[in-house]
């Protein structure tokens, strides 16, 4: 037996070896050329031997391909990573590339073990090959290599060996940071990794690289950098990747790992340092919270800030969160010698004697969020009352060419003479002077507008500094800090109040000895224990496909796919909600709710109406875009039953186009020109103002051309979903139109399988609370998602009344969420219930929504 034969026996699975002891003959492959032969491997081999000369090229995949393209040997040689096989190839052993090809063509797990090629991986990397249904290895050898297509080598280039050795006796944890930069969250991540490595095999993953890569390698078994963990993790080399016991995602920016955790059933905690006010798009925080097993916040203040977003998905905050500051609160001190020496060095640096000055420091990246501009204003205020109060900011990020911040900050600094020797305001770059700044300073002014729990404050406390901060701007507003005299909180964003507080503080008194900084808390152990305790407490699990199947994070997966089931299982396990489980759940929730709005909401199945029974009705179409209008008129016969069709648009040119399109269908619209304001809904509501085009017509269908030129395929499908339920199709009429005519029904809209909450509209609720007859519910449960519906005139009048005649509507461009127009979409059922009428939501679960 040759070395190659031994390698074949080593790598090929037992079930392959059973019918294929020699890699030089593949009975399955051979049989495809001779379908009339007995498929028995022995008989096929006998046939092959009898006709070997003529049939040599049919023996294997390699034999066939090599006969056509001998240069595949070089490509195969480049792919091989198995050291023994690579040595055979390097030694020019005949048939070594033959063996490589046949091993790779066996597929998982052999392919990725012996080479940088994976049959599955190649298809995951190249969707076009997958869609074409091609053999991935055949494609790569024939074309892919020449086209320089990515292989596993590309993925594996992002895998960096760590300095710790993997031990099968230890549990394995994956710690994810968003990047390896030398900034707050990655530094906390490094602390986690350092601690975890004492008891666990640690894999570190990041979405992006950075300066801390080598520090992470020092304490990890493996380090990977990937933005597509679901695709890449199965192909990283090493046993450590085969069984990950738990994971910690350190920062909401690591939300891209949620699909991988869900698909692999890895329990995970997310350590959140960010406020939702600046975490955009909102789905980063939503996806994190939907699937996490334990959500860990660095402060109560950050957790409170997430309250609305967590309520949106019915997240149980008391059960599924914990607060864990990244460092313990302790006040240290500096000795006189250090204090004096630090002041001397800083005096030399800035060119002003600081030996007796009241020194106030600030630290961090120069930006609006850190309030560097407010820090500057506080310095200006103090200059008048006490020129010996000196402000010193240490940090990077000032770029005079950055028109978002740097240009204005630079000009501000220049105008007030910052950094001049006679100034009381100086800026230093981040770097070795940081310890001196903290040791020398009497106080730190945390001028941040929003700052979770900045490490620089802990550093300043270690050096005995007092802290002045804004109320409601930071996690340091939590009770545990607020109780201490070391902190002074002043009115939010008020530099005068801050300046007054800073000048009233006692000066730092150096001690005989500098206090040793406290040991770092056991963050990893606390998160791991919290996660395990949470897992152990879980008393409800769901397995299998729920009735309503729409995607959340696995949008690319086909309907009913295992991954889509997995994501719903995990949401249902924790009773979190972004989609409804089934219609029974909707009805149950409505029945349980004691909110006045929900009293009159109900579901109804989709059906068709006889045209003879349809009531007299009018339609309004807001056609800011007109490109789908012609198709719509052909696709839905209901348009032809309308007594009137009013179309609003914003230009005379579009109006002419609309008239022409509709005339071609035998329809005569009433076109009204409106300014581009209030999306689709304000033009509709304005029809009902005094003297408006709506007149006394009782029943209306409100539609809009939701499709814009940039709309995705998903948006088109959603639009079809809405129109199909509201209107029917080209031959039949939806019974939505007969339902709206039933006594006591004020609104009929499609039932949306997604559970859409208040989202950013929640912030507007207090403004309108007094205008409604009862309290708003925790979440709206049902409303006409997409803002297309059948409605009675009185309901629209009620909505108009709520906002009043002269409401100051926001102009375009507006945000994607959280405006009055998004709130109106959610308030239609409230208006209907207020009028003691019902809102009916028509379900048609077989209609594709996404």
């Amino acid at each position: 037996m040759t070395g190659l034969d031994q390698l074949w026996r080593k790598h090929a699975p037992a079930d392959v070896l059973k019918h294929r002891p020699d890699f030089r003959f593949d009975p399955v492959h051979y049989g495809t050329y001779f379908p009339d032969l007995d498929p028995d491997p022995v008989q096929l081999f006998d046939h092959y031997q009898a006709h070997q000369q003529a049939n040599a090229r049919y023996a294997t995949f390699y034999a066939h391909l090599h006969a056509q393209k001998p240069s595949i040997n070089a490509i195969l040689a480049d792919l091989v990573i198995d050291p023994d096989l690579a040595a055979e190839i390097a030694a020019d052993t005949p048939e070594a590339c033959y063996l490589a090809c046949e091993l790779i063509s066996l597929g998982a797990p052999v392919d990725a073990r012996v080479s940088d090629f994976s049959m599955d991986g190649y298809l995951a990397l190249h969707k076009d090959i997958k869609e074409a249904g091609m053999n991935p290895l055949l494609h790569y050898l024939q074309n892919g290599a020449t086209e320089e297509r990515a292989t596993l080598a590309t993925i594996r280039q992002s895998q960096y060996p760590g300095k710790c050795r993997y031990s099968s006796d230890r549990p394995t944890c994956l710690i994810v940071v968003h990047e390896f930069s030398r900034t707050g969250a990655p530094i906390v991540g490094l602390d986690l990794v350092r601690e975890a490595s004492r008891s666990h095999n640690v894999i570190v993953a990041a979405l992006r690289g950075g300066a801390l890569l080598e520090d992470f390698q020092e304490h990890a078994c493996e380090v990977v950098v990937t933005e597509q963990p679901l695709r890449d993790f199965p192909f990283y080399a090493g046993k450590i990747f085969q069984n990950i016991d738990l994971a910690i995602a350190n920062s909401v920016e690591c939300y891209l790992f949620a699909p991988f955790f869900v698909a692999s059933d890895i329990p995970f905690a997310a350590y959140v340092h960010e406020y939702v006010d600046y975490t955009f798009p909102a789905y980063k925080s939503i996806f994190t919270a939907l699937f996490v097993d334990l959500l860990v916040f660095s402060s109560d203040h950050v957790r409170d800030n997430w309250a609305g977003r967590l309520k949106d998905i019915e997240f149980d905050t008391a059960r599924d969160t914990m607060v864990l500051p990244q460092r313990d609160f302790r006040v240290g001190s500096v000795d006189a010698e250090t204090h004096q020496a630090a002041r001397k060095r800083l005096s030399d640096l800035v060119g002003r004697d600081l030996s007796s000055a009241r020194l106030v420091c600030g630290a961090g990246h120069l930006q609006w969020r850190k309030g560097t501009d407010i820090f500057t204003m506080a310095a200006q205020i103090c200059r008048a009352s006490d020129p010996d109060t000196v402000f010193l900011w240490i940090g990077d990020g000032l770029n005079a060419e950055d028109v978002n911040f740097g240009a204005w900050m630079t000009y501000h600094m220049r105008q007030i003479g910052a950094d001049q020797p006679d100034s009381n305001l100086f800026f230093l770059p981040a770097g070795p002077h940081y310890p001196d700044v903290l040791a020398a300073s009497d106080a730190m002014f945390v001028s941040s507008r929003l700052d979770p729990l900045p490490n620089v404050v802990f550093d300043a406390l270690d050096r005995g500094c007092h802290i002045v901060q804004f109320d409601g701007a930071s996690g340091f507003g939590d009770d545990r800090y607020r109780r201490s005299e070391q902190f002074v909180s002043v009115e939010y964003g008020n530099p005068h109040a801050a300046a007054t507080a800073l000048q009233a503080l006692p000066r730092k008194i150096p001690h005989d000895k500098s206090a040793t900084p406290p040991p770092r808390p056991k963050l990893f152990a606390q998160i791991r224990d919290g996660l395990q305790a949470r897992l152990k407490e879980q008393r409800y699990f769901v397995r299998g496909a729920s009735e309503i199947d729409v995607p959340v994070i696995f949008a690319a997966e086909k309907d009913g796919s295992e991954l889509r089931i997995r994501e719903r299982e995990k949401m249902l396990r924790y009773r979190r909600r972004l989609i409804w489980r089934d219609l029974a759940e909707v009805e149950d929730e409505l029945a349980r709710s004691d909110n006045w709005i929900h009293r009159n909401l109900r579901l109804a199945p989709y059906g068709t109406a006889k045209t003879a029974t349809t009531p007299e009705f009018s339609m309004h179409i807001h056609a800011y875009y007109t490109d789908e209008l012609a198709d719509d008129l052909k696709s839905y016969c209901t348009y032809h039953l309308a007594r009137r069709i009013v179309v609003s648009t914003d230009t005379e040119k579009k109006a002419d186009e609309i008239r022409t399109i509709m005339a071609a269908e035998g329809l005569t619209p009433e076109v009204v020109l409106v300014p581009n304001r209030g999306r689709d809904i304000l033009p509709f509501m304005e029809l009902f103002q005094d003297g408006g085009l709506a007149g006394d017509d009782e029943i209306w269908c409100h539609l809009h051309q939701k499709k814009s030129l940039g709309t995705t395929k998903t948006g088109d499908i959603w639009r079809q979903f809405l129109l199909r339920i509201l209107l029917g199709d080209e031959a039949s009429v939806s019974d939505a139109v007969t339902r709206i005519a039933q006594p006591g029904v004020g609104l009929v809209a499609p039932f949306d399988p997604y559970y859409i909450p208040w989202n950013a509209s929640r912030a507007l609720l207090p403004k309108f609370a007094a205008r409604l007859p009862g309290p708003m519910p925790g979440n709206p449960l049902l409303f006409p998602v997409g803002n297309m519906f059948w409605v009675r005139r009185s309901v629209v009048l009620e909505m108009n009344a709520m906002f009043g005649q002269d409401y100051p509507w926001p102009n375009e461009p507006i945000a994607n969420d959280g405006t009055e127009f998004h709130l109106i979409e959610r308030l239609w059922p409230a208006m209907t219930t207020h009028l003691k009428m019902d809102s009916v939501f028509v379900h048609k679960l077989d209609q594709k929504r996404v």
Partner: protein, 162 residues
Amino acid sequence: MLIVSSSSFEPAIYCAAECHWPGPKVLLILPGSSLQRKQIERLNKDFIIIEHLQAPGNVAEMLCDMAGWLNVQLHQADWPFLFFGRPFDREELANRVETCRTAVHGIETELSQDGQLVMLQLGEMIATSPLFPEFFSHLGSRTIDDTTFTELLHTTFNWKDT
């Protein structure tokens, strides 16, 4: 761990809910169960609930699934293991609880006529063995029928003679 599937029917489920048991109780709800949402919520106080929205392949698969989710509890177990997939009454439950306690190495299995596992009783020494969660975890990735599952249990935990 006391595990009852909804195929035991409501009287047995409530009987298990009320009985004294030293460890966790688990209720496996299968599709078509008569239990309503409010009932399930009430039963969740007594049971860890695993709701199957689709019929699992067999009982072995269902138990392996459960073992994956309740891995921490299985590793910390200091109680016997008793599964019912068929009706039982208070008396039988009391008898089996007692047998579990006294026959610490005992394995008793019952298959229905169509080869479905309907009762499994494991003494405390087996249920608290570190091998026990490993047994499930090893089987977790394979598809086996209930008969093979019970045979493997008997083979793996045949400790009576050792």
